[in-house]
Amino acid sequence: MNEIVLRPKDHTRVSLEAEVITPDNFAGKTLEEIENMMVYPGNRTVQLKERFDVSGSPCDTADDLRIIIDGGAPRLKRVGEKMSCGEIVVRGDIDMHIGAEMTGGKITVEGNADNFAGREMHGGLIHIKGNALNHVGGVARGGDKGMTGGKIIVDGDAGDNIGDFMYGGVIKIKGNVGQAAGHNLKGKGTIIIGGNSWSRVGVEAADGTILVKGKVHLSAASLGYGCIGKIVKNPELGGEVIEGEFYELRADMGYKPKAGRAKVYASVGENEHILPGGRTSSPRKGDMPPGRDMLPYLKIYHKEMIERK
């Protein structure tokens, strides 16, 4: 596996748009050609070598080329956009649109990722070891098709609108999730959330399945009051079996033609408040959090922001 190492240097606060950093673009190019490629900070145009130290051994075929971004690049956007094969490893944080519209290949981010990670993705694998912010596997505003394939794994927490307008593929988030996971989930997409999920899970979802191992904060009325069909043991989702008992709830019934087939699995242990007559249906509480503890995704915001001085 040939490697090209880019070491970021003197990154300013203005984010740098570098959609050229993909194995497809780097394949078959010498180091000088790579160094002279254009990246766009703000409304300027800058060559790659002014913002990165480029080293390593280029090679002709893209699928056995690995690009390593050595060190945190919290202001480097659109890395790995539309890549079809090869690998990218980021040793640190990365900014928005990591792996947007990619059709294959593998991206590993050892730090945290910002919004729109894996936007409108068609294939390949993104593995974020830290936290991810909003719209993971989401859609650019107004579009009607979000992620259509591939797999995103986030080890930490994630923000709002995970997988909105999703048509296929798998999103696995080990930590907590903000609100509206699986908003407008249209096709056979699967979302597996290890921690708690905030309110409005699977709102306006027409198809696909969402599994929440932790607590589902109640809001979508249909979710809380939908028919609690049955308790499912060890459902088989996204190519693997998940142990535990889960309520099978009907997500938003929506009125769209193929509506009402979306399923939300909420673990039995922590979600007895969903049952009719449950605790949070008391008039005072409504959708407000039980205590004023920090909302999960706000924690992500502040942690990210403080580090990103």
Partner: protein, 453 residues
């Protein structure tokens, strides 16, 4: 001698009442008639505390300077900026916004209007679901059910109920208030709720649940819980039946729905409810956001006609890009990416978050603002323009997107130019600074290859 100017438009809130009468005596506004208290205050105090000429901050103090020097300084700031932001556009004329779009494109910055912190969620919801809209005249002539959800017109739009929705005698509603039902859905017992026939006191921040329950009943699912967001389920069933009895319903909604947790999802679901009422119940229902500023609808429409997107448009790559969450004013300021800013027709000093304001304090800020507002402490170049709708003409769009021409009531003082002229002067200088052709080297993006977002 006192001269009465008729049919004057009130340049303050989204109602854009156009039947105002202003009494003027040798270029001084003495009084107004027919305008509400806010409108009167805008006209009365429009000539108080006005700066005579532009001011530039020199070692910490705002010093009056000539127009030429101020234009040059502003153009120089914007031309050298790497990521300029052009914010506001909601309390100025449409013609100024058109020049603003050209200025943004020349400096390759991003343009955003006050909708970003007001009714942007409504626009985003329209982009997902569309919307059944209408004009205010349709409400006056046909509506027999008025729903105010999450807004308080008696405070924010005082003449809205008496001019458009509740009290006027329409063509098919000859008995005015008596031929209409008023429903208010608001956690607080507001002054609007006192006038309503039915006040649904929903528990705070759970309107989304209530809308979903309405939709469930319409789609003939049964509501299993006995109280939903603080309202007994059978009360909700009666409300849906009551809505069904009416011929024509209108939903006015405001910050209560848009700035609540869930932002555009609340409006998404409300629009779906409107479509379902039209489809299954047969009551013709329409929807209207209660826009705040008098020309925020105009700013959205003009920026959209010029650049293709209603707000949060970014020209840094040479072509218009729109992605709320990345290109809107709040995102850019929150992440500290902006290195120069122009503010016109808005007051971020009161409405922006502290984090954004702390970043704005660090960057050069050009402020086109007639009065002494909070943002003056942060701004480096201050222009005092002629006020649109009082001292110079222009066009403004009402909350239902109807364009009306603003009238000129008094003459501005000698150094106060209309916004259009100020922005055109800055644009001319920016073009010179940038050199006519500087923006003509194409950044590798040729026409027609659509793969770029």
């Amino acid at each position: 001698m006192i001269e009465e100017k008729n049919n004057v438009l009130c340049p303050f809130c989204g109602c854009l009442c156009d039947d105002g009468v202003v009494m003027v005596e040798d270029n001084k506004i003495i009084g107004t008639r027919n305008l509400c208290r806010i409108g009167h205050k805008k006209f009365e105090t429009s000539q108080h505390g006005r700066a005579e000429s532009p001011r530039i901050r020199k070692n910490g103090k705002l010093v009056p300077v000539t127009l030429e020097e101020a234009f040059d300084k502003a153009a120089e700031i914007l031309a050298n900026a790497e990521r300029p932001l052009f914010y506001g556009w909601s309390a100025t004329s449409v013609e100024a916004t058109q020049v603003g779009c050209m200025l943004t494109e020349a400096c390759r910055g991003s343009i955003d209007c006050t909708a970003a912190i007001c009714h942007a969620p409504s626009l985003e919801a329209v982009q997902d679901q569309g919307a059944p809209l209408s004009t205010l005249g349709e409400v006056m002539n046909r509506a027999d059910l008025i729903i105010y959800w999450g807004c308080n017109p008696m405070h924010a739009h005082p003449r809205h109920m008496s001019r458009y929705s509740v009290y006027p005698r329409g063509f098919f509603r000859r008995r005015g208030r008596k031929s209409r039902t008023i429903m208010v859905i608001d956690p607080r017992q507001t002054n609007t709720a006192k006038l309503a026939d039915l006040h649904i006191q929903v528990s705070p921040a759970s309107d989304h649940m209530l809308v979903h329950t309405f939709r469930e009943i319409i789609n003939s699912y049964d509501v299993t819980h006995e109280t939903v967001s603080g309202i007994p389920a059978d009360a909700i069933r009666e409300t849906v039946e009551a809505i069904g009895q009416h011929q024509w319903a209108i939903l006015f909604f405001g910050m209560g729905l848009t700035q609540q947790m869930g932002k555009d999802m609340n409006i998404d679901v409300a629009i779906t409810l409107m479509h379902e009422l039209n489809k299954y119940i047969g009551t013709k229902t329409t929807l209207m956001p209660m826009r705040g500023h008098f020309n925020v609808a105009g700013a959205n429409i003009t920026i959209c006609a010029e650049t293709g997107h209603p707000f949060a448009v970014d020209f840094s790559r040479g072509y218009p890009r729109y992605l709320p969450g990345e290109t809107s004013a709040m995102d850019l300021l929150y992440r500290g990416e902006i290195d120069a800013m122009l503010n016109i027709g808005a007051n971020p000093g009161t409405s922006f978050s502290n984090r954004a304001l702390s970043h704005m304090a660090k960057i050069p800020l050009i402020n086109i603002e007639p009065h002494n507002q909070q943002l003056l402490q942060l701004s480096d170049v201050v222009f005092s323009p002629a006020m649109v709708g009082i001292e110079c003409e222009g066009t403004a769009y009402r909350m239902d997107n109807v364009p009306i021409k603003l009238r000129k009531v008094v003459e501005p003082s000698e150094n106060c130019l209309p916004d259009v002229v100020i922005l055109s002067e800055i644009l001319k200088r920016v073009n010179e600074l940038k050199g006519k052709g500087s923006w003509s080297e194409c950044w590798g993006v040729q026409e027609g290859n659509g793969e770029v977002v």
